[in-house]
């Protein structure tokens, strides 16, 4: 098993790709032989970030592009979810639990809260009209 590896996936902002994104990241991270729980955590975090890009970043338009960069070095997994959508004006407010800007969609406002609780580190970079990048890190097998 390599102790260092990286991959990248790109796909259109179609909600049926949410499942594809989770499976692809999980298949890659599986090379490290993670626990089922760690793998589930990573799938949740990826699912939240990709869903946000689709619903909020691209406002459910299906012609946007989403990129996921995934790498590991020893037990440290890093994942970036990147969209070129509408961006976030107030990142701190957006990351508050239960905060959501969706009206017609049934959103719980828990996306960022889930990402933060599943991963060791979550950083959000965003520029209005220019897109959002969520960078997440997790050390496998660490409580």
């Amino acid at each position: 098993m390599p102790k260092k590896n990286s991959m990248q996936i790109q796909f259109s902002s179609n909600s049926s790709n949410e499942s594809f994104a989770r499976v692809a990241v999980a298949a890659f991270v599986s090379q490290l032989d993670p626990t089922m729980e760690d793998l589930y955590d990573i799938k949740m975090a990826v699912s939240e970030a990709v869903t946000n890009s689709i619903i909020h970043g691209y406002e459910n338009r299906e012609d946007g592009q989403i990129c996921i960069k995934c790498a590991y070095e020893d037990e440290l997994v890093s994942i970036e979810v990147i969209d070129k959508g509408k961006g976030i004006s107030d990142i701190e407010e957006a990351m508050t639990a239960l905060y959501t800007t969706s009206i017609d969609e049934e959103r719980a406002g828990l996306g960022f809260t889930v990402m933060q609780s599943m991963m060791d580190e979550v950083q959000v970079f965003s520029e209005v009209e220019n897109g959002t990048t969520v960078k997440m890190k997790k050390s496998l097998g660490v409580e």
Binding site: S15, E18, Y40, K43, M44, T51, A108, L110, T113
Partner: protein, 112 residues
């Protein structure tokens, strides 16, 4: 995503099979709401036995069902919840709005 229904008294039991994410929740929402109205049900009871993934979209879907069922004076319940799904349910505080039962029988009785 597979969705099956059983009607027991005035409780509509929804048996879900697959992954609960934003994509599948859109479908679930429509299908469940239609059946709930058609059957003139009061309560909604979700069987989570065959849910092998769930993220916060599942929470949003459950909260949405809670709101429409509450208007009709009904309740929402869950059973057969895996430890993984339980983690995100607990995190969301949704247990204040709906109970998790240990079995279908217990749930049906409590909701009757």
């Amino acid at each position: 995503m597979r969705i099956d229904f059983i009607m027991v008294n005035r409780t509509l039991v929804v048996i879900l099979e697959g992954e609960l994410d934003h994509h599948t929740c859109v479908e679930i929402r429509q299908t469940v709401d239609r059946e709930y109205q058609k059957k003139r049900a009061k309560n909604l009871l979700f069987d989570f036995a065959s849910i092998n993934f769930m993220d916060s979209s599942g929470i949003g879907m459950l909260m949405g069902r809670y709101r429409s069922v509450a208007i009709c004076g009904g309740e929402v319940g869950l059973f057969n919840v895996s430890p993984e799904a339980e983690r995100i349910l607990a995190m969301s505080g949704i247990h204040k709005l709906m109970r998790t039962y240990t079995s279908k029988e217990e749930a049906i009785q409590a909701l009757a």
